[in-house]
């Protein structure tokens, strides 16, 4: 069978398209008992999964695996007018929750957008489990906060990120997520 130029081109394109699908099917070997919160379904605007190296907090570089921000630009920030409100499903529909602990580490870069940290004092991260308030703490710029939550039997976790006391500027720096580990 003679393919001709068009045939050859079509074959190359087909091979390329199959190749792209192959990437999506690749599965890695993961420990079944450990998951990642941002791989669950999250609703609301302002939470993003990412994989970005070189996020410097208190002069130390980290890998950001997520971000609380108005958008995904390098430092979109948190608006003083509108807190970020997001909720994540810990179990799919008709499924029982499979994780017992959520460990998160978050931090805000004191040097990103110097004008932010001059005017706005702090961020406040409030956490809810199944709609119940379980923690509310202020996070200074350049500091990391690590916390573990007992989510045994819980179906959802929600976060509210507020920008506190911005004297003359209307945004706080974004809050980077450095760890979002779910443990069975």
């Amino acid at each position: 069978m003679k393919l001709g130029k068009i045939g050859k081109l079509a074959c190359v394109t087909l091979a390329l398209s199959i190749g792209f699908e192959g990437v999506g099917l690749a599965q890695s070997r993961r420990p079944a008992s450990i998951g990642s919160l941002l791989e669950m379904k999250c609703y609301g605007k302002g939470i993003f999964a990412m994989n970005r190296d070189g996020i410097v907090i208190n002069r130390r570089p980290y890998t950001a695996v997520g971000l609380f921000s108005v958008d995904t630009s390098y430092d979109g920030g948190v608006s003083a007018d509108t807190p970020i409100e997001v909720s994540c499903d810990l179990a799919g529909r008709n499924r029982s929750p499979m994780y017992n602990t959520l460990t998160m580490t978050v931090g805000s870069n004191e040097r990103s957008g110097v004008w932010y940290s001059q005017y706005s004092k702090k961020l406040r991260l409030t956490t809810y489990i199944d709609g119940r308030l379980v923690d509310s703490s202020e996070i200074g710029f350049g500091a990391l906060k690590r916390f573990s939550l007992d989510i045994n039997g819980s179906r959802s976790v929600a976060f509210s990120v507020e920008c506190l006391k911005p004297a003359s500027y209307e945004y706080c720096p974004s809050l980077w997520i450095l760890e979002d580990k779910l443990i069975q």
């Binding site: 398209s17 999506g24 690749a26 990642s36 990412m50 994989n51 580490t105 690590r146 573990s148």
Partner: protein, 215 residues
């Protein structure tokens, strides 16, 4: 027109004429080709913009776990200091659990951690006395700080059983610690017993030391 421009434009014209003559797709072929091209472009857009590839998520997951292990080591010290915070329950007297990062090298288990049993024991004892026995910081200090001559006597994770006691400022009996390896290797555990003698003998509930399953 300059000679150089003439040569340039005539070459362009000639090239396009050859391309037109050589490539005349039939309508059916053209639609098929166009369909495939759009499909491939759609997939590139989909993987790049809307949903990320599995490889991207796996890469992110691995990065998160690696960083998490670093935090496990670093925050252990902080967690000991923040035992009263109910969200820091890795090292908590209430749960009696202490996670230790463990690595397996040539089938022989070695524990790598910033915290030795003695250091962990002292920190746990301090938090326990403060939280459960209502000791003032000064009393805690007197009860658990070793005197100078005892500083080289350290309990080790690497021994299946090690026991040590030292004189504190408050008491000659001071603090005694016993570490027993119960189940060696990944996912295994050991027990750390601490007894503090201050104005009376205080036996701190056994601390279960869980070894990490992943190294």
């Amino acid at each position: 027109m300059k000679r150089r421009d003439f040569l340039k434009y005539s070459a362009m014209g000639g090239g396009s004429l050859i391309a037109t003559v050589a490539w005349q797709p039939q309508p059916a072929e053209a639609f098929f080709f166009l369909g495939l091209l759009l499909r491939a472009a759609g997939m590139v857009l989909k993987s790049g913009l809307q949903s990320r590839s599995q490889a991207w998520w796996d890469n992110r997951y691995d990065a998160m776990l690696a960083q998490s292990r670093l935090f496990d080591n670093e925050f252990r010290r902080v967690e000991v200091a923040e035992l009263n915070n109910r969200f820091y329950n890795y090292i908590a007297v209430g749960r009696n659990n202490l996670d230790v990062a463990m690595s397996l090298a040539s089938n022989r288990s070695t524990v790598s951690t910033f915290t030795s049993p003695a250091a962990a024991g002292v920190s746990i004892a301090a938090a326990y006395l403060r939280g459960n026995e209502n000791f003032y910081p000064e009393q805690v200090q007197k009860a658990i700080l070793p005197t100078l001559k005892n500083q080289d006597n350290i309990v080790s994770w690497n021994q299946p059983f090690s026991s040590s006691s030292y004189e504190s400022i408050a008491s000659q009996d001071g603090v005694s610690m016993t570490y027993r390896l119960r189940k060696p290797g990944r996912g295994g555990y050991g027990d750390l017993d601490i007894v503090v003698d201050a104005d009376r003998t205080i036996r701190i509930p056994t601390v279960r030391v869980n070894f990490s399953e992943y190294s």
